[in-house]
């Protein structure tokens, strides 16, 4: 079964614009795509319909990582997932063209915090993705599966960017 994250180009443009805004000390910004799932004949779809941005004060001053979200920031994201009954996909952007990749830190942290969303939405898949300007890679944690699966990304717009094939990092 494929797993595909779909978002509109309008949402993607909003996301890129906000994630590129400079922060006082964090080298990059992060956000969470709020998604609803569906099953097609061949795929698990995560349909993004909103963005939960991490607020300025919820970043920690941590030179060892591009962005580190504090406990209050994670708590707000968990609360959003719980209150709105959504799947959460953690996103950040690497400002280049071509296929991005998760860093070792990303992979380690993804494995630690993404499954935490099952504490508030245990029946929903959750994930993480890193975007470049024209590509993406992602991971998806599916209920009942112990390890993440790869996440494809489709940006629905004109032109369609439905060939953003990705691996699990």
């Amino acid at each position: 079964m494929r797993t595909v994250l779909k978002l509109t180009s309008a949402l993607f443009e909003d996301l890129v614009q906000r994630l590129r805004e400079p922060h006082g000390f964090a080298a990059e910004r992060v956000a969470f795509l709020k998604c609803r799932p569906a099953l097609s004949a061949t795929s698990l779809l995560l349909l993004a319909g909103g963005i939960h941005y991490v607020e300025d004060e919820d970043y920690l001053d941590d030179p060892s990582a591009g962005a580190t979200v504090g406990r209050s920031g994670l708590r707000k994201a968990l609360q959003s997932a719980y209150m709105e009954s959504v799947s959460m996909v953690h996103v950040h952007i690497h400002e280049h063209r071509g296929r991005p990749s998760f860093s070792r830190t990303d992979l380690r942290e993804n494995a630690l915090f993404v499954p935490d969303f099952w504490n508030v939405q245990p029946s929903l898949p959750h994930g993480a993705a890193v975007f470049s300007f024209d590509s993406a890679v992602g991971q998806c944690w599916i209920p009942g599966c112990s390890s993440p699966s790869g996440l494809e990304v489709a940006v629905v717009g004109s032109p369609m960017r439905c060939t953003w094939k990705v691996s699990n990092g």
Partner: protein, 275 residues
């Protein structure tokens, strides 16, 4: 001779256009006067994967406009999806074709796997329902519609092609679907006689619809935005961007809620049935 379609003459569409088209999947809902044209043209441009949906069989009154339909098909009562498949395979034997002799609402799981849906249906109610479905699952929908209007004993031909792109203005935003029009259609349900239909307006509208599709899936002229609504004046033989576009909101207000996305009855148990 190889079965592979030679697309050398359309290589200007972009270096990866052939690959993009070959990997793309489109659903055609309705394979009558409009859909049969679309199917034929998508075969010629090299679309790799078709999902053909229509529960109907050809009748003798369809022969004035159904591309590929023959007298023999009428005699045999051939399904419209079978005629479309025959047309597609005659052009591009390598094309993948899945046929569903059903209403589209019976094959929604398969519809979720396509990149674009072509709505080639007759009724306002049907195109409205199909658009709601497409919005719910973030699938772009290209709608074509033509009509013949009688006024003072004269007949005028009109029509439109619309790109319903998730997040952008919808058919209600554009006034193509209104409560009044839906109510009138319901009131006329079951009235005897078919709507007037002719081949050339369908061909014009279908060609534009395929042009929309090419702009979506190939790198051709990506810096030029597609007008979301083009109107066809069949009397003057002109096509122009709709005047409504000037007044449209940038974003749709009818399908803007996260709550309207995805499967409303989702449970993790659904995953137990898939590999």
């Amino acid at each position: 001779m190889a079965n592979k379609l030679n697309l050398q003459r359309q290589s200007f569409l972009g270096a990866d256009s052939e690959t993009a088209l070959g990997h793309s999947r489109a659903a055609l809902v309705g394979l009558g006067g409009g859909g049969s044209h679309v199917a034929q043209q998508l075969a010629h441009v090299g679309l790799g994967n078709f999902l053909l949906i229509d529960p109907d069989f050809i009748e003798d009154t369809n022969l004035n406009r159904l591309i590929g339909g023959t007298v023999k098909d009428v005699r045999l009562g051939t399904a419209k999806v079978d005629i479309a498949e025959r047309v597609i395979k005659a052009v591009n034997p390598a094309a993948g074709v899945v046929k569903r002799l059903e209403n589209w609402a019976e094959v929604t799981a398969e519809l979720l796997d396509v990149d674009v849906i072509f709505a080639c249906v007759d009724s306002i109610g049907c195109r409205s329902e199909l658009e709601s479905f497409a919005r719910q699952f973030l699938v772009p929908l290209i709608d074509i519609g033509m009509d013949v209007h009688e006024s003072n004993g004269e007949f005028s031909i009109g029509g439109q092609v619309m790109l319903s792109m998730p997040g952008k203005p919808c058919m209600r935003c554009m006034g193509l679907v209104t409560d009044d029009a839906l109510a009138k259609e319901v009131a006329l349900y079951g009235a005897a006689g078919g709507k007037p239909q002719v081949v050339w307006p369908n061909g014009t509208l279908a060609s534009i619809a395929v042009g929309f599709f090419m702009k979506l899936v190939t790198p051709w002229e990506t810096h030029k935005a597609i007008p979301l609504l083009l109107e066809y004046d069949g009397d003057l033989q002109t096509v122009a961007p709709s005047n409504k576009l000037v007044y449209l909101p940038a974003y749709c207000k009818h399908f803007d809620s996260l709550n309207e996305l995805g499967d409303p009855f989702w449970t993790a148990d659904a995953l137990a049935h898939v590999e």
